[in-house]
Amino acid sequence: MSERLIIDGNEAAADVAFRLSELCSIYPITPSSTMAELADEWSAHGRPNVWGQVPTVIQLQSEGGAAGTMHGALQGGALSTTFTASQGLLLMIPNMYKIAGELTSTVFHVAARSLATQGLSIFGDHQDVMAVRQTGFCLLNSASVQEAHDMAAVAHLATLRTRLPFVHFFDGFRTSHELNTMHRLSDDQLRELVPRELVLEHRARALSPANPFIRGTAQNPDTYFQSRETVNSFYDRVPALLQDVFDEFAAISGRTYSAVEYHGDPLAERVLVVMGSGIETIVPVVEHLNATADARTGVLFIRLYRPFPVESLLAALPASANRIAVLDRTKEPGSGGEPLFLDVTSALGEAYASGRRATMPHVSGGRYGLSSKEFTPAMVKAIVDELARPVPKPRFTVGINDDVTHLSLDVDASFDLNDPETLRAVFYGLGSDGTVGANKNTIKILGSGEDMFAQGYFVYDSKKSGSRTVSHLRFGPNPIRAPYLVNKANFIGCHHWSILEQVDILELAQPGTTLLLNSPHAPEELWGQLPRPVQDRIIELGIDLYCIDASAVARAAGLGSRTNTILQTCFFAISGVLPRDVAIEKVKTSITKTYARKSMEIVRKNHEAVDASLSHLHRVEVPATATSSKLLANPVPASAPEFVRTVTATMMSGHGDDLPVSALPVDGTYPSGTTQYEKRNVSEIVAVWDPEACIQCGNCSFVCPHSVLRAKHYPTARLEDAPEGFLSAPLNSAGLPDSRYTLQVYVEDCTGCGLCVEACPVKPIGQPSRRAINLEPVVEREKEKAAVTYFEELPQNNRARLDFGTVRGTQYLQPLFEFSGACAGCGETPYLKLLSQLFGDRTTVANATGCSSIYGGNLPTTPWAKNAAGRGPAWSNSLFEDNAEFGLGLRLAADLHEDLARARLQELRTEIGDDELVDALLAAPQRHESDLLLQSERVKLLLEKLEGVPGHRATDLRSVADHLLRRSVWIVGGDGWAYDIGSSGVDHVLASGRNVNILVLDTEVYSNTGGQSSKSTPLGAVAKFATAGKQTNKKDMAMQAMAYGSVYVARVAMGADPQQTLKAFREAEAFDGPSLIIAYSHCIAHGYDIRKGLEQQYKAVHSGHWPLMRYNPVIREAGGNPFLLDSPRPRLTLREYQDRELRYKVLRAANPEEADRLVGLAQAAVNRRWGEYEELAMRGAEHFAADTRSQ
């Protein structure tokens, strides 16, 4: 009997891949990262492959690197595998040609994902795998968690049998992240499946000096072509050899598969063709329609896509089929059809032409499911119905509303195929409450019995703070084949009251659904607190209503905001899926299993919470009539621009699926500054300003990651019409008598992170635990909103009259990066906000993929904003790996257009008729803000004067006139980009001598994908892919960049020295050449309460881990020492800095000797480097590289 497990598709695939490999060379990319992480963990824990050896797992700097390493390892004879997706797979393409061309056995496991086109998407479709169909790799796909496991085994055997490399793919997220019941192949089964001889043959083909040969020659016109044709027979043999493998697999596992599988009526007339998880949706619909409507339909599942199994397809397709719809989960603009469609069509056409098929069926090509778009039974029915029409659409889409090219099919959403024996449950939670984790446990509890099957799929929003999660769970006595979200729920849990007020949580309810609310209101008061639409639906559907104040139970048990086990217990108690006592015992056992290893205290608290849950659970009597007048909250204010009110608001309310094609921009261009309309109210506690204690230093607003603290000063008289509760204080700076100062808190946007409180230097007398800004519960939200509105109406202080050189002065600059969805207390965003305040109105930003591109550019709302004049940062994200080059391109374009503008200006001198203006425009210094202001006035004047001037020169000048204002190009990204995947680009751009500003938001790990090690990860820190603690030193990028002599370099840490940060940003921007700022960014991936982030920054600097420095080539050219060491000699040990952070503590708890060894080495490195820096700081100018551009 094989082991029955509930795992996700990633684990299912990786579990086999790891055990059948010697090497995994990897690079993290969503949604495949989990496979690589598991492999790394297993390797670190000494788990062997089926031949008894522990596989090596190595992380590379990019997928290109992973593929190259793999190619080498394969040529060295090792069994090698990798895990990837999307752009990662694309980066492997050059090597894939090589690997296939040399007939090399390997398997790439791909969690198939969308490609970045008009926008990036992390979700699933087949665009990536379709982009490698031409490489010579065989493509094999799986439709479910079980298949991801089974096809992994099949692929690893088939690659050795056929000598051809395989891509094994399954649907990203839908399969990779779905939990489902599956049977695991044992080591014995795998060993039996993969004969040792095949491994030895693979090894024997390796490069060896004992038997030298060369592979990888350069070939000429005489033989390249013929050589290319030598491989044909290997491909021809694949279907037969693969069938052998399937047969052997069936003998071992009892599960049968084929290259092409047909389901449905043997005499079907209408047939669908599909790959991936869609088959699981289609089969039950086909069976249902055949049984109930004599529909005569069927479906072909193309399991092997390359080499395309023409013979199997022809054999499997009923001769009766006369209407075929081929479904592609991809898009090839401009093509005659999507790839699977073209393959099927050509197979049928050839068969018909050669007389092998008597008829040529009608074939429609349809697109579905891009970026994990839902693919439901109702959509399948729509396709089947379309095929029955007299003239089916030759090309169609399904699942969207295409009101432009009218390709989409109408779908009758009421069609449903829910198994009545399956319980369907939906839970709405917040990321921080543990709902998803508890649901994963629930699935494991329920699915662990032999008589129960379970499925779980989780939907997250794209915010990193206050993110909403929706868990979709199914349980029942029958296997669950439903790779789509629950559409009718028997049970709905709403784990936060605020969700209930914002989204329609009863959208998926049906008559008699059970609803469990986590409610702060007592059972007898609850009804009156519900919004009207919720009351109406409860009455209409006869909903069984329960409530519990789980937050209070959690607080009483010392669990903080973790309400998960309490609500889980209530679910079991109400739903009756298991007898109460059994369920509670199982919940407790599961808690013990999860936490015993880590903390018995947590076990105890959770057990107490479970026991306390049931006595606080209440059934609510539902009155016969609705009484409430409250409506669901409007997602955006009525004052928002139309696009925001229509398109953005629809996305925000969770109905983006309903937006038609016509509503969306054609080229991925979206309006700036839309986060201001999304008032998320994610925190119950917010910053509250104390005007009396405040010294108006600006420290709090400087560090605020969410731009919710804004300062203005204004004449006292302005206060006359201020609303009640609007706070102000006398302005405490000289030269502006009779002025008031207000530090406005944008309460609806505040995340309650507390960085402001930590940054505040003031302790009001007698209140040592308070500051001039404190966190307090929001009391009167409406009053606060009125204050914000009033504050916004106050004029922005004149930039030209502010002191940019001090932190105090910067607080009056309007942030043009605001209210992002970054983590509460993010260490990166304050730097971006500063950038936007200082240079925002003349900046273009190139943003590498990563955290900053997600909180910076993830729909529905984005934080890069514009000022009252309509100017602001123009932002774009190209890719992960190319960002420095992308930014350089922006610079070159700007330089070209500046040159053009200057040339045209000279040429049009007479027509403009204002020599003074022309001369000033050409010679303006543009150093200080006042210069820039004057120049922008001149540009305005120029454009006025150009009005009516005829000729192409004037047209030219008008189009590029804005370039006469010095443009600031910023290249922004994290350490994963700058140190690893984009390292060579960064290096090249720094060497270019061009005027770009590179800002590295250094969190010392890949933050966005979940804390994988980068070359910035410090020695001794634990990260994913550095489970045993990072074994090598962090790269010193600053020293590398300094070597050029022509690069301005700064290492900054806002929490340690905000003034130095400010200075560095301004110097970097002013420097006419490449600049590099490496900014310490505290991060949740470091493992501590990041409210203490600033303190950690301070310790990082004062322990010498992060010495502050600047290197300014301008000073060297003036004869001075360009190396400025800005932090004092370390006075803390490295351990004093590290001790708070989990990334170091984990190693100390697991392996204290190793932790000691590594911290010892790291301390020695710190000491040595500090010595070097001190020495540099004392050298003469002549000892540094010259800026050769100025020589």
Binding site: T30, A44, Y460, S467, S599, M600, I602, P768, T1027, A1085
Partner: protein, 337 residues
């Protein structure tokens, strides 16, 4: 001169012991104390509560951001580590290395909160090489709901549990705030304590009147602090089987001598060593030897010389002490009203 001393069955080269404190936080610190000549070293305390809190905190931090964002379902690799966090492992390693590094007994000090934690950690400390265990039963003051008898019962319970789980000697470091300290000592003695350490110092917070803040009250002991333990040692000498250790207020050799005269088996000090450095231990010992020589006494003869005689009425003795104290004060400061 022979200063060898028996403390709970351990043979010490002299009666001066470095008590739990900051100097014993590193192997080098422990070695320095031994080099300075002390008879034994008590390690700084391992706080069980702190360690449980740390483990809980680590687990909380690990899962704080899990399952919230589709690209990052977790932020840390799955690393198997002890549920005690880093505190216990560090402490055990220190005990192990320190015990190796010195040739005098090393006594581990445990400050616990739960019965299970006491027992588990005491045996781990013994396994790691501690020659004895000192239980620092320090119940958090300020809880007005706990009765005196509950506190007493808790002490006995913890002691018995630990006593049964380890074979090395076990001492109890106790607080002076029992309504009947002497009776409590006897009860602990009966329950199996091999040593009684008098007393634990109750760290009382202070108030900063300028900053209007409550400040933590960690202060070094002063000479007068020795009077209370000395009185009780004098009373208990001969009335309990357990060894008696004096702690608090040792600054000069004469303080050591006074404790010995009152009946202490050993004399502990931390404050003077923190003030003057580990080598100060050597000076205290030299002073002790000089005094013994001057008085032509052996250590054995001097020890307990001024203890309350076994057959004396303890109340009467204490009363006598009180009366003489008043007499002394009168002669020093003039008549009291």
């Amino acid at each position: 001169m022979d200063l060898t001393t028996n403390y709970m069955g351990l043979r010490l080269r002299n009666p001066l012991v470095a008590s739990a404190g900051p100097l014993s936080q590193t192997v080098n610190g422990v070695r320095a104390l031994a080099d300075a000549g002390v008879g034994a070293v008590v390690m700084y305390s391992l706080f069980e509560e702190q360690m449980r809190r740390e483990a809980e905190k680590m687990a909380e931090l690990e899962e704080a951001h899990e399952d919230s964002f589709p690209e990052a379902l977790s932020y840390f690799p799955n690393v198997p580590y002890s549920s005690d966090g880093t505190a216990v492992t560090s402490y055990l390693r220190l005990v192990e290395s320190a015990a190796d590094a010195i040739d005098v007994p090393l006594i581990a000090s445990l400050n616990g909160a739960t019965l299970g934690g006491w027992v588990k950690n005491a045996s781990r400390l013994a396994d790691a090489g501690a020659s004895a265990i000192e239980l620092n039963i320090y119940l958090v003051p300020g809880d007005v709901t706990v009765t005196g008898s509950e506190v007493e019962h808790r002490h006995i319970e913890i002691l018995q549990a630990v006593r049964e789980s380890v074979s090395v000697p076990v001492a109890v470091k106790m607080s002076p705030y029992f309504s009947s300290v002497g009776n409590m000592c006897v009860a602990l003695d009966h329950a199996g304590a091999d040593g009684l350490v008098l007393f634990n110092r109750f760290l009382q917070p202070d108030i900063d009147i300028d900053r209007l803040e409550v400040t933590p009250g960690v202060t070094l002991s002063s000479r007068d602090d020795a009077r209370l333990p000395r009185t009780w040692i004098a009373v208990l000498r001969g009335k309990v089987k357990a060894s008696l250790a004096a702690s608090s207020g040792v600054e000069t050799p004469s303080d050591v001598v006074k404790y010995l005269l009152a009946g202490a088996d050993i004399v502990m000090t931390t404050s003077s060593l923190v003030r003057h450095g580990a080598p100060h231990a050597g000076k205290l010992l030299e002073g002790l030897e000089a005094w013994l020589t001057r008085k032509e006494l052996t250590l054995e003869r001097a020890r307990g010389m001024l203890a309350v005689p076994r057959d004396a009425d303890p109340a009467g003795y204490a009363r006598t002490g009180y009366v003489s104290a008043l007499e002394k004060a009168k002669s020093t400061y003039g008549a009291l009203r």
